[in-house]
C-alpha cells in the first residue's frame, strides 16, 4: 500500500536547511539524490517533490461562497513542511525504514501516513 512521507524541518535553521550557496546544501542534495535512487531501484517510488519555503505559501479557504486568500502557510509551526514522498510499501515497517533514510529525518521529523486505497 501507499504511504505519504511528509518531511518537516525548521526552515529558519541555517544548519538544517542551508542556503543554496552554502556547501552544506550540496551535501543534503546528494543525500536526497541517493535516497531517490534507492527508492526507485527498490520499486517503491510513486511520487516525491521538494517544496519551496513557507514564505512562498498562500492559503486558500472558501467560506460562504467567498474565496479567502492569505499570505503564508495554514499555520505557524516550529517545523515546516519542506517536501514529500509517496512510496509503495508492503507495510508500515517498510515505510518507516524508508522514512528513516530521508536526510531530514535526522534533523527534523518525517510523518508517515497511509494513503487510503479506494480501488
Amino acid at each position: 500500500m501507499k504511504y505519504a512521507c511528509l518531511i518537516y524541518s525548521n526552515e529558519n535553521d541555517g544548519e538544517i536547511n542551508p542556503d543554496p550557496t552554502d556547501p552544506a546544501f550540496g551535501e543534503i542534495m546528494s543525500g536526497y539524490m541517493a535516497f531517490g535512487a534507492a527508492v526507485e531501484a527498490a520499486g517503491a517510488f510513486v511520487a516525491g517533490e521538494p517544496l519551496q519555503p513557507t514564505s512562498t505559501a498562500t492559503s486558500v479557504q472558501v467560506r460562504n461562497g467567498e474565496t479567502l486568500t492569505t499570505d503564508g502557510p495554514f499555520a505557524e509551526t516550529k517545523e515546516h513542511l519542506g517536501g514529500f514522498y509517496i512510496l509503495e510499501c508492503a507495510d508500515l515497517d517498510e515505510a518507516i525504514s524508508w522514512a528513516a533514510q530521508i536526510p531530514h529525518a535526522a534533523t527534523g521529523t518525517v510523518e508517515v501516513r497511509p494513503v487510503p486505497d479506494f480501488g
Binding site: A90, D91, L92, D93, I96, V112, R113, P114
Partner: protein, 402 residues
C-alpha cells in the same frame, strides 16, 4: 505442517493451509487471546481451510481421493493433539509480542493489547487492573486495531538490525504492567497481585522465546525478585513494611532461586544492561539473611553501574540511599541535597521520605526539624493509602523522641 503434509499428501496444499491458519490465528488471538491448546486450534483451522480449498479448486477423482483421506485421518485417534510444533507456536507468540508492542502504537494501547491478546484478560479485568473503565479500555483497543489495519502495522518478528530497539519496547510494556501490579499508585493495598503475576508469566514466556537476549532474562529475574517480597511487604492490616524490617522467611525463596538461575543465565550471555543490574541489586538484598548483613558496598557499586545506563533522578535517589547505608546518613544526605536533584525530585514523595529517614538518623534538633518537614512534604504528595499511613506513623513517632 508436517501432519498436514502427511494427511494431504501434497506439500503445496499443506503449506497454503498452514499459512492461512497462521494468519487467522494471529487475527483471532489478537482479539480473543491465545487458546488453551493453540496447537490443536491451529491444526483444526488448517485442516478446515485445506478441505475448503480442495472442494473449491480440485475436481474429479483427485478431489474425492483427498477428501476421503482427510475424513479418514480426522477419525483417527492415534495422533497427538499438539502437533503444531512448539517453535511455530513460539513464533506466533513472538509475533504477537512485537505486534502488540509496536512503537507506532501509543504506550497505553500497547499495554492494553498485550494484556488482552497475550494475557488473555478481559477488557473489564484490564480496566480494573489499570484503574480505568472497561469502556475506556475497549475504545483504546478499537483505536489501536484501526491504526493497525489503517496503517498496516505488521505483526512480525523484527529483522536483526531492529530487534534490540523493538525488544526494548516490549520490555517497557511488561515493566509498566508489573509496576502497576506490584506498586499500585493509589488504593488501600500496596500491590495488585493479578497484574504482577501476569507480568511474570509473560516475562517467562518471552525469556524462553528470546533465550539469547540478556536483558529479557534480566527483566524476568527483576520481576521475580521484587515479587518474592510480596507477602512480607504488608502487615495483615494492610500497613507497609519497609525492606529492612521485612520478615525474610516470608520471602518466596523458590522465586528467588528461579531469579538467581535466570540472572546467571543472563550474565553468561555477556551483554550487561540496566534490567540485569536492577535484578542484581535485588539479588544482593535477597541473598542477605538479614538487613544488617546486606552487602551495601556491592549495592552502591551496582547503582554506579546502573547510573551509566540510566541517568535518572530516581536512580540517583536510590544510589544516595545505598551510599547512606554503606557510609552513613550524612553521606547520603549530601547527595540528596544537591539542588539539581532536589529540584528534579521535588514532586516525588519517596525523595522526601528518604530525606526524612536519613535526617532522623542524625542527632540534633536541626535534623529533627528537617525530618519533620520532609515527612510533611511527603504526606502532601503520597497517594497510596498504605504508604500514607506509614508516613503518618513515622512523623508521629518522630514527635515522641523530643
Amino acid at each position: 505442517m508436517a501432519v498436514l503434509h502427511r494427511d494431504l499428501g501434497d506439500l503445496q496444499a499443506a503449506e497454503d493451509a498452514a499459512q492461512e491458519a497462521a494468519e487467522i490465528a494471529l487475527q483471532r488471538w489478537l482479539d480473543d487471546g491465545i487458546p488453551d491448546r493453540p496447537g490443536a486450534w491451529i491444526t483444526t483451522v488448517a485442516r478446515r481451510r485445506a478441505v475448503d480449498r480442495i472442494r473449491r479448486e480440485r475436481t474429479g477423482r483427485d478431489k474425492s481421493d483427498l477428501l476421503a483421506r482427510l475424513e479418514a485421518t480426522k477419525a483417527s485417534r492415534d495422533r497427538p493433539d499438539e502437533i503444531y510444533t512448539a517453535t511455530a507456536i513460539g513464533d506466533e507468540q513472538l509475533r504477537l509480542f512485537f505486534g502488540c508492542c509496536h512503537p507506532a502504537l501509543s504506550v497505553e494501547a500497547q499495554v492494553a493489547l498485550t494484556l488482552r491478546s497475550l494475557g488473555g484478560l478481559t477488557t473489564a479485568e484490564i480496566g480494573r487492573a489499570m484503574l480505568t473503565t472497561e469502556t475506556a479500555v475497549a475504545q483504546r483497543i478499537v483505536r489501536a486495531k484501526r491504526k493497525i489495519a489503517g496503517a498496516t502495522i505488521p505483526f512480525r518478528i523484527p529483522d536483526d538490525h531492529e530487534l534490540l530497539d523493538r525488544i526494548r519496547v516490549v520490555h517497557h510494556v511488561l515493566y509498566l504492567i508489573f509496576n502497576e501490579g506490584a506498586y499500585a499508585s493509589s488504593g488501600q493495598h500496596v500491590h495488585r497481585l493479578d497484574l504482577a503475576a501476569e507480568a511474570i508469566r509473560l516475562a517467562r514466556v518471552l525469556s524462553t522465546l528470546m533465550a539469547d537476549d540478556a536483558e529479557t532474562q534480566g527483566l524476568l529475574a527483576l520481576f521475580l525478585l521484587v515479587d518474592s517480597r510480596r507477602d512480607a511487604r504488608q502487615h495483615v492490616d494492610g500497613s507497609i513494611v519497609l525492606l529492612d524490617a521485612q520478615d525474610r522467611t516470608a520471602w518466596n525463596h523458590a522465586a528467588i532461586s528461579e531469579a538467581t538461575t535466570t540472572i546467571e543465565r543472563a550474565l553468561r550471555l555477556g551483554r550487561p544492561g540496566p534490567y540485569q543490574i536492577e535484578a542484581s541489586i535485588n539479588a544482593v538484598h535477597a541473598e542477605a539473611p538479614s538487613s544488617e548483613a546486606t552487602d551495601w558496598p556491592e549495592i552502591v557499586a551496582l547503582y554506579r553501574a546502573l547510573h551509566a545506563h540510566r541517568r535518572t533522578a530516581v536512580v540517583e535517589l536510590n544510589w544516595a540511599v545505598a551510599v547512606a547505608m554503606a557510609a552513613g546518613p550524612e553521606a547520603g544526605l549530601a547527595r540528596l541535597n544537591q539542588p539539581r536533584l532536589a529540584e528534579a525530585l521535588d514532586q516525588y514523595h519517596y525523595f522526601h521520605s528518604a530525606r526524612a529517614e536519613l535526617h532522623r538518623k542524625v542527632d540534633g534538633s536541626e535534623h529533627r526539624d528537617k525530618a519533620q518537614r520532609a515527612y510533611r512534604r511527603a504526606l502532601d504528595l503520597v497517594s497510596n493509602e498504605a504508604e500514607r499511613a506509614w508516613l503518618a506513623q513515622r512523623l508521629e513517632s518522630l514527635g515522641d523522641n523530643a
